[in-house]
């Protein structure tokens, strides 16, 4: 049983560019959340997707957008990248008991 999988694991982008991160949830999980973890901090909630719609959103600008596909996989898109967007981006899927399970994350460096 595969856990939450994310790609790519590492990437480097230039300021102003756009990036797309991908996530496949744990088998049987239909809800996907995205978190940003800056260096030395705890994860911060970006948004959550359920039934292909954004259900809840954290305090992030509209440059951050997402999508969920019929197979429950999800993408996180960030436009007009800033240096401050450099972080570990974590995808999590929700189990039926309400626990969230994380992938290994995608390390984004903006230069």
């Amino acid at each position: 049983d595969a856990g939450v999988t994310q790609s790519p694991t590492h990437l480097i982008k230039t300021r102003g560019q756009q990036v797309t991160l991908r996530c496949s949830p744990k088998s049987g999980h239909d809800t996907v959340s995205w978190y940003q973890q800056a260096l030395g901090q705890g994860p911060q909630f970006i948004f959550q997707y359920y039934e292909e719609e954004e259900r809840q959103r954290g305090n992030f600008p509209d440059r951050f957008s997402g999508h969920q596909f019929p197979n429950y996989s999800s993408e996180l898109n960030v436009n007009a990248l800033l240096l401050g967007d450099s972080a570990l981006y974590l995808c999590a899927s929700t189990g039926p008991e309400g626990t969230i399970y994380f992938g290994e994350g995608s390390w984004l460096t903006v230069v």
Partner: protein, 114 residues
């Protein structure tokens, strides 16, 4: 408003000694409380959770946590620390009915010395 505080940036303990990592929370309504562990350059791994019932909950790798409603705390404990327990530990809270939006603390680095 919902929040989590982990008052210690770092906890140092000798192998074989008991360990405690502290967490306090603020949430509207009944809290759902969680502990996660993060090893270097890895994602977060679920350790244990409190939803309801017994205030002492047991989790993975011999960890346990004690829920104290009056003190709004959820401290992580282990009777005998291992060097391999050295990692970053995060406490998290979500409110009942909040569609699984978790609030995380800033993390506590646990150093277990041989």
């Amino acid at each position: 408003a919902q929040s989590v505080a982990q008052p210690e940036d770092q906890v140092n303990v000798a192998e074989g000694n008991p360990l405690t990592v502290k967490c306090t929370y603020s949430v509207s309504g009944n809290p759902y409380l969680f502990w996660y562990v993060q090893y270097p350059n890895r994602g977060l791994q679920f350790l244990l959770k409190y939803i309801t019932g017994d205030n002492l909950v047991k989790g993975s790798y011999g960890f346990e946590a004690e829920f104290n409603k009056s003190q709004t705390s959820f401290h992580l404990k282990k009777p005998s620390a291992l060097v391999s327990d050295s990692a970053l530990y995060f406490c998290a809270v979500r409110a009942h009915g909040n569609f699984n939006k978790f609030y995380f603390g800033s993390g506590t680095k646990l150093n277990v010395k041989p």
